[in-house]
Symmetry: C3
Subunit: 265 residues, 3 copies
């Protein structure tokens, strides 16, 4: 095992003192800790986006990584701070559902962070990321055990992500994420498409998205026709709508939440 690694995910942006404060706190407790920024540009208070980003990259991190997610519209309220332990990773976050997609994917033990002696302050604070969550992550990175910090709980808050629906002649899903290139990632997985194709062998697929009908499919961006939106299975194993070197989101006028239907032509 390498040295301790804490990965940060917030909606703090980079322009203020927020992220620096977390890092200062962590390094004051564990100066040898390596800190990686997942991103700090989660749209303000957007738990769905944060949940997706975390899900999209956590598997690539080393065993032992501690993920600290501070997207926290309920900061300072009575909502709990929770801790999930999976086979390979630790996740610390407010109990607001931001870890839902991890829970969908991983077998996890659930805890509530309860031992206030690891906090910088045990009073109410409007910056729990700095005063409570960062120190807890840092102490864990030094080897403090989960049982010293937290007590088991039986359930935590879950976000309601709409499940894609597999019908005989179509799959109904949604756009769940728009990336910076304007690619539109949907909730329809590779596995679902494979099952659909099993049942509908030898047929052509089209994707209905908003008022558009997309007929091109391509294995990757650069193999699509210029100026024609297409769909593909992306590097996360999800159906994605894209446009080579352009923004599909802008061109099609679509974004997160919009419904899509993959169907037999």
């Amino acid at each position: 095992m390498g040295k301790a690694l804490i990965a940060l995910l917030t909606d703090f942006g980079r322009r203020d003192y927020f992220v620096a404060s977390l890092k200062g706190v962590i390094l004051s407790i564990n100066p040898d800790c390596q800190i990686v920024d997942l991103t700090h540009e989660v749209p303000d208070y957007n738990l769905q986006a944060a949940a997706f980003i975390l899900w999209a990259c956590y598997q690539f991190f080393p065993a032992g990584t501690i993920f600290l997610t501070v997207v926290d519209p309920g900061v300072g309220s009575e909502r709990r701070l929770i801790l999930l332990q999976t086979d390979r990773h630790i996740f610390i976050a407010p109990d607001n559902g931001v870890l839902s997609l991890i829970l969908n994917q991983e077998r996890a033990e659930l805890f509530e962070v309860s031992n206030k002696k690891f906090f910088i302050t045990d009073r109410r604070t409007s910056f729990e990321g700095r005063d409570k969550m960062a120190p807890v992550a840092a102490w864990m990175s030094l080897g403090v055990s989960v049982t010293e910090l937290a007590r088991p709980v039986t359930s935590v808050k879950r976000l309601d992500f709409a499940e894609p629906q597999l019908r005989p002649k179509e799959i109904q899903g949604n756009i769940i994420y728009e990336d910076k290139f304007g690619n539109l990632i949907t909730s329809i997985s590779q596995e679902l498409v494979a099952r659909f194709l099993e049942r509908n062998k030898g047929t052509n697929l089209v994707l209905l998205a908003g008022k558009k009908k997309i007929t091109d499919m391509a294995p990757t961006y650069s193999l699509a026709s210029a100026d024609r939106p297409f769909f593909m299975i992306n590097s996360l194993g999800l159906l994605e709508i894209a446009l080579y070197k352009k923004s599909a989101a802008e061109t099609l006028g679509l974004g997160s939440g919009d419904p899509v239907v993959l169907k037999v032509d």
Copy 2:
């Protein structure tokens, strides 16, 4: 003590080669140095904002941290490079007042960086961050002493931050910082409010900001009423105007510099 830590604060943005150049220089001199970005998104040339951000987070960093601040509208001119040494930290910056709030807070020894042998070039340069300040910080992180690098000076430039005024029935202050969520941080401290309340026990407080009168007070964001601006003591111990999950700055049409008055209702 852990390994050497240099914290960077600039208005360089992240899109160019500027920040990378500082890091390359530092790591070429001290490959084991840990580098933390406070932020590089200080508004262009804005010394007040840089001074505030530094003040807001420096205390959370480990003893021994070297803070390198490069917000430097006078780059290449005859203005000095200065170095402050406090009990716990080192601060390196152009002599333009950007360290004023540190000097207000800390007892510091003042130095001018004078030994050109630690510079990459001793000629005039339009990138002193890379050519002079970063190497000085890096050599210090390797253990070069202040006295080898710099000579004592008796004073350095100070910015003029308007002090809040405590009157019998009101406190007059200013908005000094607007964060990315649109929260408006004022110059009025928790201590000043406490002294004011001592003198005005049992009264209700209101905050006048621009043409608005704010009557709600809340202990933290999530405990405020939806869609009603409120004021609170924030995590820096300063009076702050906020709006739950919205931008107070945008909603109220207020920003840095605007006056505020906290008074008995």
Copy 3:
């Protein structure tokens, strides 16, 4: 030598899971690797800008640094992944010309990354940065040799950067980069200007840029007259058009690609 250092340059932005994925992959292979972000804000698919940023800062990095550049409009296609080895550094990138300016500057051995056993997947992928390039960089940072990973090639793709032209009474060049302050960096080097001045001793120089004639020259930003555009030799040794504390680009209405002429007045 210090510990292994990988420097990342991409057009991924910071808001998604892309950069985090690269870092997770690298740290899973080499947990002790230090990772530095050059920038992730290269304009989408802009190979010229990426080539320039890399050129502008690589020399400041320690010997042994591995530069991983993922600006890759051809991702997933048959274009090769290449590796350049110079005296001091390793460069890994798609074979799309993004390393052209390094090749102009350095003697380099050219390789094609060919050993798929170091990839996360050897199948077609729309995220080769994560699945192929990051693991190759990480394995190299652990000491895997170039010959294990790659095979020599005789040529790689080059971008067509217009060379500045030295004429008897003028130098013709172009704006090649606009930085975040709005400074306009041209292709005309200090050396070219020196040769021109040799031939035209004792004359005044003016710079024609767009429809503007710039007559002020200054050694650095802060020594220029307020509100008057000027030209200078910048910290990269290139002729630059600037405006003290303002954006020359915006004020003059100029940007990358626009022609400039330095001439005798």
